[in-house]
Amino acid sequence: MDLAVIPRNLHFLLGGLVLTLELAAISLLGGFLLGILMGLGRLSSRKWIYYPATLYINFFRSLPLILVIFWFYFMVPFIIGRPLGDFLSAIIAFIAFEAAYFAEIVRAGIQSIPQGQVMAGYSTGLGYYETMRNIVLPQALKNMVPPIVTQCVIIFQDTSLAYVIGLKEFLRRIYLVDSRELRSVELYLFAGFVYLVFCSIGTITSRRLEKRQIGR
């Protein structure tokens, strides 16, 4: 064991951690917004909305994330005619992928709201958007918070997959330091520890929130 390897490269590694956090934050936000749209689409009674949304969700849920990352890495440059760069193509892949999972969370959250609430909304003269925005979504969001926090933890872990397209996030930097210093055990234990700390905070928060809701 030679733990000195970590302080020696700490600055470089922390830079990776910042990039990882950025990736996670942007994917979370984008994935969630797209996920709301897809989740609503999945509950739509209009067939031309329902089927594309369902197809989208099932398509992305049956692919490994690593393949989705490759997809955007290869496909997007081909469509727009110029390479996107690894950060942007990773972000797009994450948003597209996580949206499918968020959509299912949103769907479950909305379905947990009794039908009567929707009917009450309509009967007071509100339209679809007003009912959703003012009545259903605020209540549903509250139910969705624990699974969303869990999903945050998953996204944070998933960002490590950007490693495969060479993006210098935390894990990639660990790998780079390892290939120079040959200190695999120390470095990967350190990486595991860092992820563990961040994710445990998320997991514990999620569990607390869940307990509070059951107690309510």
Binding site: S62, P64, F74, V153, S160, L161, L171, Y188, Y195, C199
Partner: protein, 240 residues
């Protein structure tokens, strides 16, 4: 749009077609073996977590927390790059010399250990969801403990556990793609390799996607059929 010449023949031209087929086979065997480990280990973890014993609960709980809160990729690298160097020099050398396809087996074990934490949680949830009335009813009709489990609890538990197990198997199946990072040529790895030889990433990535979607669909349909076959009238499948 860039001009791009589609050449689908890279998928079956020699030797690429062979690589692709071998990749698919590797994905199937790797994820199946890993899932076998996951169920065995997960059963232990699940039982540990519901036993009325503080220590076993702590062990089971720590296992689940530790595995679930670190990315699979970090675990994979730790197993592959880190662990061998912890062994004595002689055995480290022996492993590198004598274990054929080391990345493959590292992938199997690591994926198994990882999936076990998720399977363990499902088993725990399944066990908790069986109402105690079931035990009481079985005992009061005069069944022994063995008979209670054999004829009442286990048939019940299996039906509760099939849907989450299907999900976990598919997660395991998809996660197997990550073993390409340590050099296992499974479906994604093979498609990436063919791309680096032919520069036809769109075709190979499409082919790999189709493989995953088709296998996922087959598993889902098969399990839906199994669920219908063994359905007990009146039992709510989701086990609430």
């Amino acid at each position: 749009m860039l001009s791009y010449d589609f050449d689908w023949s890279v998928l079956w031209k020699h030797p690429y077609g062979r690589w692709m087929l071998e990749g698919i086979w590797t994905t199937i065997t790797l994820s199946s073996l890993a899932f076998l480990i996951a169920v065995t280990l997960g059963l232990m973890v699940g039982v540990f977590r519901v036993l009325p014993n503080r220590i076993t609960r702590l062990i089971g709980g720590s296992y689940v927390e530790l595995i679930r809160n670190t990315p699979y990729l970090v675990q994979l690298f730790f197993w592959y790059f880190g662990l061998p160097s912890l062994l004595p020099q002689a055995s480290e050398k022996w492993i590198y010399d004598h274990v054929p396809s080391l990345p493959y087996w590292t992938g199997v074990v690591c994926l198994g250990v990882y999936t076990a934490s998720r399977v363990g949680e499902q088993i725990r949830a399944g066990m908790i969801s069986i109402p105690t009335d079931q035990y009481q009813a079985a005992f009061s009709t005069g069944l022994t403990t063995y008979q209670t489990y054999r004829y009442v609890i286990i048939p019940y538990a299996i039906r509760i556990i099939i849907p989450p197990f299907t999900t976990e198997f598919l997660t395991c199946f998809k996660n197997s793609a990550l073993t390409m990072t340590i050099g296992v040529l499974e479906t994604t790895g093979a498609s990436y390799l063919i791309d680096s030889y032919t520069w036809h990433g769109l075709e190979t990535t499409t082919a790999a996607s189709v493989v995953y979607i088709v296998i996922t669909l087959c598993v889902v349909l098969l399990m839906a059929w199994v669920e219908r076959r063994i359905h007990i009238p009146g039992m709510i499948a989701r086990g609430r």
